[in-house]
């Protein structure tokens, strides 16, 4: 049974109206732990926010391969996606990046992608978006020929409002605006507030980590071993 997670965002009506009037999107990013040099991607983008917004998701993953190169602000489109659980391995065997999931082998708490070909791909993991808009990738790594990438999802979500015209799957290296990383490792449900002029607010606990506009997102969302 997949663990459900929830973030509630509370906003005053004035804030919601101002965000709407200026065409702000709510952006979400999700953190992973990995030893390679990866980049975070826009996990979700939505205009579907209100005075009470609930983001719900479950631990349900896909491993993907893609031919897209990881370039700054470029978009990664998963060409081949496979449902996979933690502790399992996607074996990539086809030159188009196709393969199959080995449910018997892998590293605990980690999704492994093993490239058995000599073709380079981009790889990463995807997760269903909280607003029910399908599954989208949250990170992108180079997957060189005959190499193994290991990616461990962590229950930390970065939220920010921005008018930036970028879509899900876009490589994001810097924060578009001030945001908040919400750590759900200790508790699977958290409530935060957003105010148009004062930014993000929470109970001050260590589970909330503020992020400034232009902060580098890579060390925050692609955490080393």
């Amino acid at each position: 049974m997949s663990t459900p997670y929830q973030i509630s965002i509370e906003m005053e009506q004035e804030t919601v109206e101002a965000l709407r009037a200026d065409g702000y999107y709510l952006f979400g990013f999700k953190a992973v732990k990995a030893s390679g040099a990866g980049k975070p991607l826009v996990w979700f983008r939505t205009l579907d926010y209100a005075t009470e917004t609930k983001l719900n998701w479950v631990e349900q993953y896909q491993a993907y391969t893609a031919k897209s190169e990881i370039i700054s602000k470029g978009q990664i489109t998963a060409s081949n996606s496979y449902s996979i659980d933690l502790g399992q391995t996607l074996n990539v065997t086809g030159s188009a990046g196709t393969g199959s999931v080995d449910t018997q082998h892998g590293t605990a708490h980690t999704i492994s992608i093993h490239n058995l070909t000599t073709t380079r791909f981009t790889t990463g993991i995807s997760q269903p978006q909280p607003m029910g808009q399908g599954t989208s990738p949250m990170c992108a790594f180079n997957l060189y020929g005959l190499n193994l990438d290991e990616i461990a999802p962590i229950e930390q979500v970065l939220l920010m409002f921005s008018t930036k015209p970028v879509i899900t799957g876009t490589v994001a290296e810097e924060a578009y605006s001030s945001g908040l990383i919400i750590d759900l490792t200790a508790r699977q449900s958290r409530t935060v507030k957003y105010m148009i002029d004062d930014g993000w607010a929470w109970d001050g606990g260590a589970w909330g980590i503020p992020v400034e506009a232009n902060d580098s997102l890579v060390p925050l969302l692609i955490q080393g071993d």
Partner: protein, 241 residues
């Protein structure tokens, strides 16, 4: 053993070196042993980011035997930190006669081709063999050394090289490297040349002395050869001491 030691040269294209560096990959090296002890485990010998289009790993083949107190945490992921280390050659015997794990090397030992470690005390230790790298003895394997027992270890002329982004400090007990590797046999040779390509992996021109190792392949059977003959020799040696 060649008097000048051993040398393996890794050649790679500049693009491969650049990609490895961008990924933050380390070059790892581990050395193989034959052993009387079934619980012997391999240990990371070299971890380096000093690689380029041409990279040479050079080592003299000089060995030391080490002991370390306790047997509590020796499993995969543990880090070996020798408490006592002494140079030793094949055919010699290290006798541990102090509960602190120290002792003396004498010859001849019980086996002409092996390094022998005899624990004369009743205190168990972690023990193993180190090989010199850049002037420092670094552990290559670890095994449990119980009281009143003898272990025999033969350093083999085989090195496993691998590139992996997983951080594993020298002295760490490992059974998986999670990056592509090549096991290189230097028996009867002091130098070997291999190539690495970021997408095509390791190659040695089809020579039988090189064997590609997949990222998820267990390296324990490649690096630790358990020998019944050595086990019997070790038991005979205990009986005669």
């Amino acid at each position: 053993m060649p008097t000048g030691g051993y040398e393996v040269t890794i050649g790679m294209a500049a693009a491969t070196a650049a990609a490895l560096s961008t990924e933050g990959a380390w070059l790892y090296a581990l050395l193989a042993v034959e052993t009387s002890n079934r619980a012997t485990l391999p240990v990371v010998w070299l971890q380096s980011r000093r690689y380029s289009e041409k990279t040479t790993v050079r080592w003299p083949g000089a060995c030391a035997a080490y002991t370390s107190p306790g047997r509590d945490s020796i499993g995969v992921g543990a880090r070996i930190d020798p408490g006592f280390s002494v140079p030793i050659s094949t055919g010699q015997l290290l006798t541990i006669d102090q509960p602190t794990g120290t002792g003396q090397v004498t010859q001849p030992g019980p086996s002409a081709k092996a390094l022998a470690i005899f624990n004369q005390t009743t205190t168990p230790f972690t023990a193993g063999v180190s090989q010199k790298l850049d002037g420092v003895f670094m552990p290559i394997c670890t095994l449990p050394l119980y009281g009143q027992s003898v272990e025999l270890i033969v350093p083999l002329e085989q090195i496993l090289l691998a590139f992996s982004t997983r951080p594993m400090t020298p002295g760490t007990v490992v059974t998986l490297l999670l990056g592509p590797g090549m096991l290189i046999d230097l028996t009867g040779a002091s130098e070997r040349s291999v190539q690495y390509d970021i997408n095509r992996g390791w190659s040695c021109g089809g020579q039988t002395w090189g064997r590609a190792v997949a990222p998820i392949e267990e390296v324990l059977p490649l690096l630790v050869k358990r020998s019944e003959a050595l086990s019997r020799a070790a038991r005979r040696a205990v009986a005669s001491m």
